[in-house]
């Protein structure tokens, strides 16, 4: 009996067009980025802000270094 049902399911599955299965799962989306309550987005935003601040500090440091070079000549 169980085998029969399994065979039935298998034949049904094979008869179903592949596109239909794909539609059931929904279109392909960047789901990993939204997993676990979308925390990765928060991490991304914080990293962007911190990268901005770090870049700002580096540029400021470079400008001051340049001025120091000019003044020491």
């Amino acid at each position: 009996m169980k085998n029969k049902i399994n065979y039935l399911l298998l034949s049904l599955l094979m008869a179903t067009p592949m596109g239909l299965i794909a539609q059931e799962a929904g279109p392909e989306m960047a789901d990993t980025f939204r997993a676990e309550g979308k925390i990765y987005v928060v991490v991304g935003v914080l990293l962007i802000i911190f990268a901005g601040i770090a870049t700002y500090l580096i540029r400021l440091d470079r400008k001051i270094s340049k001025l120091e070079k000019v003044n020491n000549k």
């Binding site: 990293l47 990268a51 440091d61 001051i64 120091e68």
Partner: protein, 217 residues
């Protein structure tokens, strides 16, 4: 760029604490819930503030022994950065307290002690601003800075431990073992502390180089 390695190290350590602080495993506790992660960002502000104030008082003592414009400048700039970090620590702490203790300000000894400490350091800046002669300024501010540092240790390091406090590690059980700092959290927390101290050094260095340049012109 001068000393690029430790500046980049500071950036990497803080970036690591941002990523792992949000994605890492934390203990599941009542009331705190996910806000336990604030520990990675709020507490390093205080650790780095104390580091900045320590450096500031060291330079103050050095300039009292033998005056130099640079030493006095470093003492001032470290205190400035320390004050900035403590302001950020206070704001983040108030925000955190609203959602865990139920109010922006409680009569916790550590909060009041911090407020007094910040006023003491504000007076340091006012004192510096009110003296014209650079040597006299360095001497007065240097002596006052020693007083300010000792007061800071008393107000945020000693007094909160003598009474009950909402802060962990206070009220007679000092030390980190009492903390909810398990082995998952410890490396991220220490990375954040070291990273923020390095960033604090960097900001102080940038400002003092800028002041020196504007003096030479």
């Amino acid at each position: 760029m001068k000393g690029i390695w430790w500046k980049v190290l500071g950036i990497i350590l803080v970036a690591y604490s941002i990523i792992m602080g949000l994605l890492g495993e934390v203990p599941r506790l009542d009331i705190l819930n996910e806000t336990i992660r604030v520990l990675y960002y709020h507490v390093p502000m205080w650790f780095s503030m104390i580091a900045m104030m320590l450096l500031s008082v060291i330079f103050s003592i050095l300039t009292l022994g033998n005056y130099s414009f640079n030493r006095d400048l470093w003492a001032y700039e470290f205190a400035r950065t320390g004050f900035l970090l403590s302001s950020l620590g206070l704001l983040t702490g108030m925000f955190w307290a609203q959602f865990t203790w139920g109010s922006f300000w409680t009569n916790d000894p550590k909060l009041n002690g911090t407020a007094v400490t910040m006023l003491i350091y504000l007076a340091y800046f006012v004192l510096r601003g009110s003296v014209e002669d650079p040597q006299k300024k360095a001497r007065l501010a240097g002596v006052y800075n020693i007083f300010a540092f000792v007061m800071m240790i008393v107000f945020i390091g000693i007094l909160p431990r003598l009474t009950d406090s909402l802060h962990p590690g206070n009220g007679g059980n000092p030390g980190f073992n009492q903390y909810d700092l398990n082995s998952d959290m410890r490396p991220i927390f220490y990375a954040a502390v070291v990273g923020w101290i390095l960033i604090g050094l960097w900001i102080s260095q940038l400002r003092s180089r800028f002041i020196k340049l504007s003096h030479e012109e």
